[in-house]
């Protein structure tokens, strides 16, 4: 028998769950359909090896919108964010660069590398704070159509214009430069310390197919400063229980509001009636009807897999085909018998409770990118390493540890394609490179899981393994995400919506797309969100 719902959400990733929770809270009958046996999409915790739990894909939480945490009361649904205290950048010469959480200690370490940088750091922090303040309203708005003459779009453009004007010319110029410059150039204006620049700029390349010297990589630097202004404890954190715990908390909030959630319920396609969405057809053939259908999948799947291309305007299909995914990163997850011992900072210590960044210089990152440009994984990749079991002891058996290694670049379009053999070669490269800094690593490994962009596509269902549902590049942001004229969470098919990371603002475990989509749907229902 079939039941009827107000809304069906395709995909139980964090954005889909956020949309579901908001719709359910407004009293709607909501059903979430997830293809896998667990919820979370790319934000899942899995016990890959007995006793060892991994945030298999996405591994840190930085930008989860505070208003979502408050409005959905996620703390009472089990969400707990633990701080990542520091970032250690080991250097090939045995030295290191350490970004401490404590101000005095951070300055002391900066002064060891560069007196000028130590002084610049605070002014830089202040400017970034201002820039983060400047972009926050943009993250919170439905992108207006800059070509439209409708009162609502004109009004939004006017508000945007006024906002930019109110920044004042100096800050407007800085924001403009931040949006158009490369992170390497932008940081070089402030700093001379290579590991500092490289470690900061690395955040600008994640999820793109660009190197740190490419324009359009600077603005992501702001992400480090967003947490502060929103009153979050720290800019970067780790969810107790792994990133899957975030998904679970949101799911719990959705269920508490009355949403139904089904796993192992893959959707075959959207059911259309008279050109309008009327429900979905599951992979087994089951039909479920609903007033609206919301896709939390990436744009390619949302439009080209869930619908027949004939039901879409030709230029939308064209622009979706030009929309770039090309995943560029992979993961290596390790179960460890003991802690890694870093040559530059031997023994256990608070540094192991923070991140370890293999990013000794901008040149190192550029060379890593060079390999990927020509279809190879980096011979010496950028890595962001954390030991979740140091932050949350529940992630591994007593005395044992789990290590999460985010790796870039690993191109989806690998020369010759990804095979089991290439996957293991990639894993070996990662372990070999990391072992140069922590020589005991190899002997400490109990198990390893290597995740390529191909695996991210196959398992988590992200096209081409792009962790952000499409590159976070200037030409794929704001009113161009995912496509011109379809950036307002609606689609050309009536009653069919999109709410995934492929819509504004997208990226990371942020939830903003899901929340804005829910607001738009409620608006269409004539309900004040």
């Amino acid at each position: 028998m079939t039941r009827s719902y107000d809304a069906i959400i395709i995909g139980g990733g964090h954005n889909g769950l956020v949309t579901a929770a908001y719709l359910a809270r407004s009293g709607r009958r909501v059903l979430v359909l997830e293809r896998r046996h667990i919820l979370g999409g790319a934000a899942v915790t899995e016990e890959i090896f007995p006793g060892f739990k991994f945030s298999v894909f996405s591994y840190v939480v930085s930008l989860l919108r505070p208003e979502i945490i408050r409005e959905l009361d996620l703390a009472s649904h089990g969400l707990q964010i633990l701080p990542l205290e520091s970032t250690l950048t080991p250097l090939p010469n045995g030295d290191h660069f350490m970004a401490w959480g404590d101000h005095d200690r951070a300055r002391q370490e900066l002064m060891r590398h560069s007196l000028r940088d130590a002084e610049a750091y605070e002014e830089f922090g202040r400017e970034m704070h201002h820039m983060a303040m400047a972009v926050r309203p943009i993250l919170e708005m439905v992108p207006p159509d800059p070509t439209s003459l409708s009162p609502s779009d004109l009004g939004a453009m006017l508000r945007l214009g006024k906002h930019m004007h109110d920044l004042g010319s100096e800050r407007f110029h800085m924001l403009y430069r931040l949006m158009t410059m490369s992170s390497a150039d932008f940081l070089s204006e402030w700093f001379e310390c290579e590991p500092l620049k490289a470690t900061k700029s690395a955040s600008g390349i994640i999820g793109t197919f660009l190197g740190p010297r490419s324009p359009g990589t600077a603005y992501v630097l702001l992400h480090h400063y967003m947490g502060d202004i929103d009153g979050a404890f720290r800019a970067w954190g780790f969810a107790r229980g792994g990133t899957g715990a975030i998904s679970e908390a949101i799911a719990s909030a959705a269920r508490a509001a009355g949403a139904e959630i089904r796993t192992e319920a893959g959707v075959e396609r959207v059911l259309l009636e008279r050109g309008r969405a009327a429900g979905v057809v599951l992979e087994g053939g089951e039909e479920i009807r609903s007033r609206v259908v919301v896709s939390a999948l990436d744009p390619r799947r949302t439009f080209l897999q869930m619908l027949e291309p004939e039901s879409l305007p030709g230029d939308l299909v064209d622009s979706l085909r030009r929309y770039r995914f090309r995943g560029s990163s992979g993961k290596v997850n390790l179960a460890l018998d003991r802690l890694p011992d870093f040559t530059c900072m031997p023994g256990p210590g608070p540094h192991l409770g923070g991140a370890v960044s293999i990013s000794p210089s901008i040149e190192y990152l550029e060379r890593a990118h060079d390999d990927a440009k020509y279809g190879e994984f980096s011979r010496r990749p950028y890595m962001d390493v954390i030991l979740p079991s140091m932050i949350d002891p529940g992630m591994a058996p007593p005395g044992k540890h789990v290590m999460s290694i985010f790796v870039q670049y690993a191109p989806y379009h690998l020369n010759g394609g990804w095979t089991d053999q290439r996957r293991e070669a990639f894993g070996d490269t990662v372990i070999d490179t990391l072992s140069e800094y922590a020589p005991n690593l190899k002997s400490a490994i109990l198990h390893r899981q290597v995740v390529t962009p191909k695996d991210i596509e196959t398992v988590a269902g992200l096209s081409e393994g792009n962790i952000f549902h499409g590159e976070l590049a200037l030409n794929q942001l704001f009113f161009l995400r995912p496509a011109a004229q379809w950036a307002k969470y609606r689609t050309p098919v009536r009653h069919y919506y999109q709410c995934g990371s492929g819509t504004h603002p997208g990226g990371g475990i942020m939830g903003a797309s899901g929340r804005l989509a829910a607001r738009e749907i409620l608006t269409d229902w004539g309900q004040r969100p």
Binding site: P146, E189, L210, P215, N475, L480
Partner: protein, 525 residues
């Protein structure tokens, strides 16, 4: 006694001469001071070997602003310039080249035999981007908007109204906004499949940029390069007598209006009293009084060398220091005993700009070396043979060839640009030329290699950057030369700037000089 003028113009490059011409036309007394012996800046024709005249530096000047030619009666003063088909020839290692000519349909017909997959795409591509170029051309003929200083005059809608009013449709407008920040490689991959075609257009987009075609924002580089053109691609303005004849015509035009021009005169200081210009002091100690100084030099020289350090706020100085120059190109000029025989070329192909840039990967790999301070082993070459259309440039039967070599970073690691590095650069360029034109290496009578350091020393190009500041999205429009000071004035009353370091950054030859002169004239009662 000290001389006194209404305006002293610093530098004798094309933009400065244009400004001087406009100022004199409006009745101002004008003195132009050029430190070097030649006028024209990087648009200069030299004769290092008797009978062979080289466009020593830039050979592919931006389109000359038509209004400038008219207003200053440059035709009357001897300027002859044309554009000839074919416009751009994308050479291919084997087989016939790709010919890009003014008529897109004709280009498509030509492509049918050499790159059939792309033949159908070409006219659509040209049609799609022509409105973008036209829009950019219009932007380039005006003083840029100053977003920070406008009233809440609605920046968002400013964009919207400005663009809508220009007749771009909804789709085109979105495409415009989407395309500018893209990597040019992505743009070209969206349209074409032929490697040489994409390689040639990609190389033109990253001319004088420290970016490879996979860098974001390089699609803008292509549009900038095409500014002022009614065709895709743009043709080379062919100036009778060599590019240096433009400066010559400007000089004649300016002198006819009473402008005084002194070359070989170095300026030591711009004199300032209470943040107002008082005049200039020359290297010999002589002073010239003027309440307006218009500098055509790069900002680094104008602000950091010619002014006393106390005059400017440190915040402004920092903005000046942040301008990225990063010259990445070197020049090789050749005197040839005979016509170079490029494999698969027709005779008329030598009229075009010949791109030896076999693929986007080739350009990208050539660029990769720049990041590490190395010169490219396999460079990208942009070749013109000016003597084909202007036989006056070489003795009968002989030819001159002008080659831009990308990429050659100003800051070369190791010993820097010594003689060995310079010759290695010329050798690798000639070796590559020989692969496309086998008779060429044997026919070289004379060669001249100019590294970025040479370009700086000889033509005043800061860090060898002939655009006087990289033309990237963060350094154009209201950001050029420094954020908030794009309207040719400066924090010093009476001090104005023009030249390639200002809007539109050489996007239209003569335009910055014309706009700066207008700004100066508006400032006086």
């Amino acid at each position: 006694m000290t001389a006194r003028y209404d305006v002293v113009v610093l530098g004798g490059d094309v933009e400065s001469l244009v400004a001087a011409g406009y100022l004199a036309k409006a009745g101002r007394s004008v003195l132009v001071l050029e430190g070097r012996d030649h006028l024209g800046g990087s648009l200069v024709t030299t004769e290092p070997v008797s009978g062979f005249r080289f466009d020593a530096c830039e050979h592919f000047a931006a389109a000359i602003a038509p209004a400038v030619v008219d207003d200053l009666a440059l035709g009357h003063h001897g300027l002859r310039h044309t554009v000839a088909d074919p416009l751009v020839i994308a050479a291919r290692p084997e087989g016939p080249p790709i010919r890009l000519i003014g008529d897109p349909n004709a280009t498509a017909r030509g492509l049918a035999s050499v790159a059939p997959e792309d033949a159908a795409s070409w006219p659509g591509f040209a049609k799609r981007i022509q409105p973008f170029i036209d829009l950019l051309t219009r932007i380039y003929t005006q003083v840029p908007p100053q977003p920070g200083s406008t009233k809440p005059a609605d920046l968002g809608s400013l964009l919207h109204l400005a663009l809508r009013a220009r007749g771009l449709g909804k789709t085109e407008l979105f495409e415009f906004l989407r395309t500018f920040p893209m990597p040019v490689a992505d743009l070209l991959d969206d349209w074409f499949s032929d490697d040489a075609l994409k390689g040639a257009l990609g190389a033109l987009a990253v001319r004088h940029l420290a970016q490879g075609p996979r860098g974001a924002g390089t699609a803008f580089g292509l549009f900038h390069h095409l500014a002022g053109s009614a065709t895709v691609p743009r043709g080379r303005p062919i100036i009778q007598g060599g590019v240096g004849h433009l400066a010559w015509a400007l000089e004649v035009s300016a002198r006819s209006r009473g402008v005084e021009i002194r070359t070989g005169v170095a300026v030591d200081r711009i004199q300032v009293v209470d943040r107002s210009v008082a005049g200039v002091r020359l290297a010999g100690g002589e002073t010239v009084q003027a309440s307006v100084v218009l500098s055509g030099h790069a900002p680094r020289k104008t602000f950091l060398e010619l002014l006393d350090a106390e005059v400017l706020d440190p915040e402004f100085v920092t903005d000046v220091e942040r301008i990225r120059y990063r010259g990445v190109a070197a020049k090789v000029n050749l005197a040839l005993a005979e016509v170079p025989q490029f494999t698969g070329f027709r005779e008329e192909d030598l009229r075009g700009v010949i791109m030896l840039s076999p693929s986007l990967d080739h350009v990208e790999q050539a660029f990769d070396h720049t990041k590490y301070g190395e010169q490219s082993g396999a460079p990208v070459l942009e070749v013109v043979v000016p003597s084909v259309l202007d036989p006056s440039l070489a003795p009968e039967g002989r030819h001159v060839m002008s080659v831009w070599v990308h990429f050659a970073p100003y800051h070369l690691r190791g010993a820097g640009w010594d003689d060995q590095a310079r010759e290695a650069l010329a050798d690798s360029a000639i070796e590559m030329l020989g692969r496309y034109a086998p008779n060429l290496p044997g026919g070289i009578l004379h060669r001249e290699a100019l590294t970025p350091v040479d370009l700086e020393e000889r033509f005043g190009a800061p860090e060898g950057q002939i655009n006087h500041g990289e033309l990237t999205l963060d350094q154009i429009l209201f950001m050029r030369p420094v954020p908030g000071w794009s309207r040719y004035d400066t924090p010093v009353r009476g001090l104005y700037v023009c030249g390639l370091s200002t809007h539109p950054g050489g996007g239209l030859t003569g335009q910055s000089g014309a706009l700066a002169a207008r700004r100066v004239l508006r400032s006086r009662p």
